[in-house]
């Protein structure tokens, strides 16, 4: 009988205790963050999407070599004397046209190893993490400031310059007639 009454009392009392707690929570401000509109600030050294400040890039290819998954692709073209490429923000002279600087973010493993070797600190992690795409190809980010035509032009310029240089060299050293060994070898066979 004592147990019975005790059970009754506990049944009612514990319900009231629980109701008190939920009532308190009725007036506590909600902890929900309305995500697309409100975002939590990210930690200072969080690693997300890469960004390349191409104006500062000297095309040294160190980031591409540091990348463990090979997601950075860089192509450079030497500049011709007379072309002024300007200077980076920490006073390094640029000597190469960066004709291609592609980062395949789909491959990127966010190790941040490319960030450390950069001599001009032009490749860095941003706080952008919402960049989903429907096409995988859209995840290849191209950072080169040169258009395709411009890049082709630079290449042509360099080839022309090289050809001119070669021609100048040829003129200086008198060319010797080459022996046609290939033909002889074939015949001997």
């Amino acid at each position: 009988m004592k147990q019975y009454l005790k059970n009754t009392w506990e049944g009612l009392y514990t319900v009231i205790v629980g109701m008190k707690i939920t009532f308190k929570h009725l007036f506590t401000p909600s902890v929900t963050i309305q995500y697309p509109e409100v975002k939590i600030p990210l930690p200072e050294r969080s690693r997300n999407r890469l960004y390349v400040n191409i104006d500062d890039c000297i095309g040294c290819d160190q980031c591409a070599r540091a990348c463990p998954v090979g997601c950075i692709e860089i192509e450079t073209v030497k500049s011709v004397p007379g072309e002024d490429l300007g200077k980076t923000s920490n006073d390094k002279k640029k000597a190469l046209w960066v004709t291609k600087f592609d980062i395949d973010i789909a491959k990127c493993c966010f190790c941040s190893l490319c960030v450390y070797p950069c001599p001009t600190e032009c490749i860095k992690m941003t706080d952008i993490y919402e960049y989903s795409e429907f096409e995988r190809n859209n995840l290849v980010y191209s950072f080169s400031a040169l258009t395709k035509e411009e890049a082709g032009e630079k290449k042509l310029n360099l080839e022309k310059f090289n050809a001119e240089k070669e021609a100048a060299k040829m003129k200086q050293a008198a060319p010797e007639p080459e022996k046609k060994q290939d033909k002889n070898e074939k015949e001997s066979e």
Binding site: G11, H25, L26, S30
Partner: protein, 364 residues
Amino acid sequence: MYEYLVNILFSVTGNQFLAQASVMILIAALPLFVVILPYALAAVLAERKVSAFMQDRIGPNRTGYRGLFQTLADILKLIQKEDIINSEADKKLFNISPLLVFAGSYAAFAAIPFSGMFIGTNAEVGIFFILAISSLVVAGILMGGWASNNKYSLLGAMRSAAQIISYEIPTALVILSIVMLTGTLSLNTISELQTAYFWNWNIFGGAAEGFKQFILIPFMIAGFIILYISTLAEVNRVPFDIPEAESELVSGFHTEYSGMKFAMFFLAEYANMFAVSAIIATVFFGGYQSPFGYLGNTLNFPLLIPFEQFFWFMIKGLFFVFVQMWLRWTLPRLRVDQLMTVCWKYLIPYAFINLIIIGIISLL
């Protein structure tokens, strides 16, 4: 209300039968369109908001201003949905079941006095009628669960039947004690007896004089708690929601229902919640009576009184609905054996003792 409207219509049309028939239809439809539907829409939203606030969330806030149109959008969605009947179901019973459940909970509103004027039928057996007609819900639930030909549905329906029938006993016993005290079954008369100020409410001993009133208070409070718990179980709400226990029975007896039929069950659940809250408010908390007298009396403008009464009735009913929601987000679900223990070992003995004591006091 009936005679009043019939007289008006008769004087306009001059046809007795037409007047009576149209008033009957009007009175039958009035509570549905004035009270239950808007209430159900608001209550579903309130339920979601209350649950959100109690869990420190925000809740629906995208549809309309702060999510006010959320349930409206939900209903629109439910209307558009395909009406699926599984091929192995007993189609006739499957289709009747939601109607029966809704009719059972809706018919209860006929005898509930919303105000002195706004009452479907002022039948002398009001509360008895409500107790009887809400048993129709059990039949509907059992029918739906069985006709679905689904093990979860059948389990839920059988649990529901066992639960509702068991919990009808303490409900009836507590109401019986009030009937003994007031000497009437009519809910309108019970409300009228608790008029004037709130110390005349049954929970504070009713309109009994002096000494008797003070003795009655603890037993009335006990009766109120028993009635509240047992009606909570009758409407299958948490913590007594084992018929539709989401985590074990998918969603119980209405697992197979979709679209508007599901909406009917939903509407019936919320209508039932308000019906039992209204009964509790009427039986223990003065029904439509204002706790501090009427503004209409002070301003000498008696037309205002029915509206005031309606207001107070809704306030009381909605408060108990809120408490039901509050409990839902506080308590975990009971096990089947615990459920039966609470009913047969605790509520029924207490209700019996309470009934006897109140009987003795009312004889004093």
